[in-house]
Amino acid sequence: MRWRHPVFGCLILALTLVPAASDVPSVSVRHAWVRETPPGITMTAGYMELRNNTSQPQVLVAASSSGFETVMIHRTIVKDGMAGMVHASQIELAPNASLIFAPGGYHLMLMNSKRTLRAGDPIVINLKFRGGLVLAVDFEVRK
């Protein structure tokens, strides 16, 4: 059959690879979750693993969510035996590297939630990167 010709084979392979390659976003997010809010509390934190899939640095410059009045990039630091939070105006992701937001370290500080968050609720947080990339990320609310 003509379709078995190696040229066609290569062409089909090339055509399937092209869209696959362009599907990989410059930054991908995994394990995104937000801590459930205790009753009466309107403040919580979001955690995730960011991966820079490019060979250039990517810079996270802002975050926002329709579920919260304010979202800020924060980092818990321990100084003189005390924990406190410092605001990070931006975070640079090294080329082809991951950065983990986890309890006790980097986190998205989510302030003034518009409703009580219960485990299992979906929440979308938009992550803005320098250069215009905006990722709408689904975060899972967990206890």
Binding site: I41, T44, T76, V78, G81, M82, G104, H107, M109
Partner: protein, 220 residues
């Protein structure tokens, strides 16, 4: 114009002392085999060889009951300083402690003689009712305690717990810094040991099991 209305900070030598002791820990105790306990450095807990007796303090719990020196007698107390507007460290630690309590509940000795106390260093925002909602969310047996700044400072100083609250007029989310350690007081109201972060429920409950067994066989 931007001056803090209130700023206070507690730092005592106890923190440095605890660090120097570098986590003295009884690694393995095989009481039934009559072998000797070993003292080894430990990442999780620092045991004090000569637990310091605490002196009088006066605070109030989330049900508006007095929480003072007498409240410590007869119970092992796990104590953590924080504030409810804390999005990261406090809920993380309280969730770990709730899990540790579940683990301890499975031990034969149970949880009758244990209490978990969350001390808010932010009485300005953390009223009794706010504390009640907050601590009971993590575990219905948890106590939420606070008081005036002098009395919080009194207890914090005895434990070497550092904290700093900077109430800034017009600033809703003013900065609060606080110790991340979990303090363990023994049923004689003495400062027995301190758990150092990052806290892990399994590690905390396992260490506590040994500490309690050791004390049960060694009442003084």
């Amino acid at each position: 114009m931007n001056k803090p209305a209130l700023k206070f900070s507690i730092m005592t030598t106890t923190v440095a002392l605890a660090a120097m002791l570098a986590g003295v820990w009884l690694a393995e105790i095989y009481r039934e085999h009559d072998s000797r306990a070993m003292l080894l450095p430990d990442q999780v807990i620092t045991l004090f060889p000569d637990p310091k007796p605490l002196t009088a303090f006066a605070l109030t719990d989330h049900k508006n009951r007095v929480f003072d020196l007498a409240s410590l007698k007869g119970k092992w107390t796990f104590l953590f300083f924080g504030f409810t507007h804390c999005p990261d460290i406090c809920p993380t630690t309280l969730a770990v402690l709730a899990h540790a309590r579940e683990n301890i509940a499975k031990n034969k000795a149970g949880t009758e003689d244990i209490q978990f106390v969350f001390i808010s260093v932010d009485p300005n925002r953390d009223t009794a009712s706010k504390l009640r909602q907050y601590v009971e969310y993590f575990d219905t047996t948890f106590l939420g305690v606070t008081g005036d700044n002098m009395q919080i400072g009194n207890l914090a100083e005895q434990l070497g717990a550092a904290y700093q609250v900077t109430i800034t007029p017009g600033m809703e989310n003013y900065p609060v810094y606080h110790s991340t350690a979990v303090f363990l007081l023994n049923p004689r109201a003495r400062y027995h040991a301190v758990f150092t972060p990052p806290h892990d429920a399994e590690a905390v409950s396992k260490r506590f099991k040994v500490v309690r067994e050791l004390e049960a066989g060694n009442p003084t």
